[in-house]
């Protein structure tokens, strides 16, 4: 890993003698990399059993407090898709004795922010506050968490906002491509292939939100994460005061089925007449987060499409000028989960651009030049410290540790594990996961202008869909 180095010590001096002349014959040798050394986070539980994890950071008088709930979008009941996201949205629209507007006013007056939202497998209430206002902010945060009103008037209002947001999706090619990709990869039979639509949004009733809250906001399903300018001594009594009433309870079992791998190659073109670019998404299933290949896959993806100098970006952007950028990523859920490569490419080169993706997929499965391999490893490993810079970074990183059940010490070991990845492991990962014969290809663009170029590639069966085929009938508003 470390590039061993001599600090440059040439003896050429400028006239006047104040500075050495630079040696521009090549990139300068660098001194040894400083290790990232993080302490084990502090953990304790409140009297009701609610788990707390804390990392101190004292350079700015701000604090981040996140309540992490281990229930997310893909845990929604069938027919109620979008419920977790909606319930989290309504959570802060009135609580305790406060109306929605009063709550927002009180929070903003403190200079604090309290956000609520959901992700694929989690939901969060996040509070950012000046340390001098922490107590007041926690009082409001706990009111939102413990005593949400879920007023029908707020439900109705936010349902209309959601339906209109749904309508706006019809304009956005990236959203359409992403949605189509997931629906086609997982199908309606899987929770990962079902999404909120006109019907499910209209179906939410207050009881659904209350049930979501009662079931999931329990100690066994939740963790408080604290990062910033506090100590265990200063924060524990405050958390005890405001969260001791957080309900005890166990997490419910969640159906998180193992999805089926893509078989064969199928191409879907979604027509968006007049589009200036085509949005391409290509992929299949990659590994679960706990797969032993995790580090090798990370390095492999950095080389394929996870950095600026990656092959996909170099090819589509720098070599051909087809696009502003191209990239790839692995989702790393706790089950096998999507690997997707994507780009917005100029309409008239859609076919050739698609062809280049396939070329790069096949090429990454062959031996990797040494400098490219070591660059991929270094970029990944030495950039890792960025996850620990701000309170929000720290709290987010601690949250991922919980969701992925990573052991303490994991963060300190990461850099070494990445640097230890071998070429054989990278190629094995590519051969296992980047199989271009078995991929789903989605293209959102102007069919009349791109159809011929795509057919010419002979990649497989080409299907044509409308935006309505993907997003459903437009909501009537």
């Amino acid at each position: 890993m470390k590039k061993i180095c001599l600090l440059v010590s040439f003896t050429l001096w400028l006239v006047g003698g104040f500075a050495q002349m630079p040696d521009r014959s090549g990139p300068p040798a660098l001194s040894q990399v400083k290790n990232l050394s993080l302490p084990v986070p502090v953990r304790f539980t409140l009297s009701n059993g609610l788990k707390v994890v804390l990392m101190e950071k004292h350079n700015v008088p701000m604090v981040q407090v996140n309540l992490l709930i281990q229930t997310g979008n893909y845990d929604d009941p069938v027919g109620k898709e979008g419920l977790a996201s909606f319930a989290m949205d309504v959570l802060d629209e009135g609580a305790g004795n406060f109306t929605a507007l009063q709550l927002a006013d009180e929070i903003e007056l403190l200079g604090a922010q309290i956000g609520t939202g959901s992700r694929p497998f989690s939901a969060e209430v996040n509070c950012t506050a000046p340390v001098a206002r922490l107590q007041d902010a926690l009082a409001l945060m706990s009111t939102i968490i413990l005593k949400p009103t879920f007023a029908n008037s707020e439900l109705d209002r936010l349902k209309k906002l959601r339906l209109n947001a749904l309508l706006q999706n019809y304009d956005d090619p990236s959203t359409i491509a992403q949605r189509a990709f997931n629906q086609l990869m997982f199908t309606e039979a899987s929770p990962y292939g079902r999404f909120a639509n006109d019907r499910t949004i209209r179906s939410y009733v207050r009881e659904d939100l209350v049930a979501f809250h009662t079931t999931n906001f329990v100690t066994g399903n939740s963790t408080l994460i604290v990062a910033g300018d506090v100590t265990k001594q200063s924060i524990q009594p405050l958390l005890e005061k405001y969260f001791a009433a957080y309900p005890k309870g166990n997490a419910t079992n969640k159906a998180r089925p193992v999805p089926a791998q893509v078989k064969g190659r199928s191409i879907y073109v979604i027509d968006k007449p007049g589009a200036a670019q085509s949005v391409i998404s290509i992929g299949r299933l990659g590994p679960a987060r706990n797969d032993p290949s995790y580090y090798a896959v990370n390095v492999m993806n950095t080389i394929l499409g996870g950095s600026f100098t990656s092959r996909l970006n170099s090819n589509l952007r720098e070599k051909h000028g087809y696009a502003y950028g191209a990239s790839s990523s692995f989702s790393f859920w706790n089950t096998p989960s999507p690997f997707v490569a994507s780009s917005s490419v100029q309409t008239d080169v859609t076919g050739p651009a698609l062809g280049e993706f396939i070329i790069e997929f096949d090429k990454i499965r062959t031996p990797i030049p040494t400098d490219e391999l070591s660059r991929g490893k270094n970029y990944n490993a030495l950039g890792y410290a960025r996850l620990f810079e701000t309170n929000i970074d720290l709290a987010g990183t601690l949250g991922s540790q919980i969701l992925y059940q990573l052991p303490d010490g994991y963060f300190n070991n990461y850099v070494g594990k990445i640097l230890a990845v071998t070429e054989q492991e990278v190629m094995a990962a590519a051969n296992q996961f980047v199989v271009s014969d078995n991929m789903l290809i989605v293209i959102v663009g102007d069919r009349a202008k791109i159809e011929a170029g795509i057919l010419k590639l002979n990649l497989g069966n080409v299907n044509f869909l409308s935006i309505e085929d993907v997003l459903g009938k437009k909501p009537a508003l």
Binding site: P22, A104, L109, Q113, Y324, L382, R386, L477
Partner: protein, 450 residues
Amino acid sequence: MKLYSVITLLLCALSANAQKIKVPYEQFTLPNGLNVILHQDKTIPRISVNVWYFVGSGSEKPGRTGFAHLFEHILFEGSKNVPEGKFDEWLEAAGANNNGSTTEDRTNYYEDLPANALDLALFLESDRMGFLLASLTDSTVDGQRDVVKNERRQSYENRPYGKANLELPALLYPKDHPYSWPVIGTMADLTAASRQDVADFFTQYYIPGNASLCIAGDIDLAQARKAVEKWFSDVPAGKTVLPPHPAAAVLTEEKRVVMEDKVQLPRLQMIWLSPANFQPGSAEMELLGSLLGGGKNSRLYKRLVYDLQIAQNVSAFQNSSKFSGEFYIAVTARPGIGLSQIEQIVQEEIDKITSESATDRELARVVNQYESRFLTQIERSGGFSGKANQLNEYFFYTGNPDYFNEDLQRYKSVDPADISAAARKYLRSNARIVMSIVPEGKKDLAATKK
């Protein structure tokens, strides 16, 4: 357990309303004219090297719009001692990430790297500052021209409501004003840009005396200074650049524009000219933006989205540049809602804030949010919004790199009456752009003059 040592950042005992923010720095000028700012922050073992060139799209020649930004792209394509492709490869191999951006006033570049790699960033930045042209070829220019055209397609043409932003500058500013064309430029001008244009632009503007280098992060101040002195010592000084000095832009009429786009929901955009960056009145206008469009209780959001539910979203903000500012109000209406109805309510709210002051609580809410944002911002050294960039930005616009506290005081010293006065002065109905962006075939939804 203490994770980070306390350093550099001196924050006085905090009452949420009386913190003093201080970002200590060291500043010096090299013999070739390069301004240098150093700031130490050992939170993580990384550093950010940030360079501002005091040239942006405002300095472009007629027929070459978009050139400053195209030039920014070319700066990553190698220089005399850095073969094409190696700039990014060497940085990534050291664990760095980097980027650049262009506005009307300036172009900035950063490299965020592990603390051991300072020399690499300084080598690369000094090589392209001093010796860019040695490796420049026609194909470099052609390659980035295609990339930038795709950036234009992705960020404007293929984005809902995006095309309207390309029209705006010409509506707001007279033809000879440096802000009267979009930073991204036109496709025709991008096509016309030549290698000679690149050489001319480089020789004229990319000189040390027209730039500022800031290094923030896990550095030793004395060593960093030595390294800067070494790497930039052979960069030639170049000829002094005269900054643009446009006459103040004035709008003398209301212009109404209707555009059709591939969108579901109609959008009303109202834009006024307003004070330039850090000039009197600009803080008032920024706060006014938040009073009107920031958060559920803001005047326009509460009225249009929360109470009446005839709009999907609202935004109101001041965008300040060196020679002028612009104040925006944008409202996306619900389906079938005419933009005339939206405009009437926006006008009622403007009339209201101009005639009676906001409450103290309303203003405190907004100012306290600003204050927290200052604190959150100084947690980060790198990127486009970290301290390295901010120190350069303050230096460029105010001459004082550590302007954090003064900047915050600009907001804290505003009274509700000041905001009403600024609204009266700038949000005039006879000097503005009223833009209706409507779904194709729905021109009847556009806002029409009473």
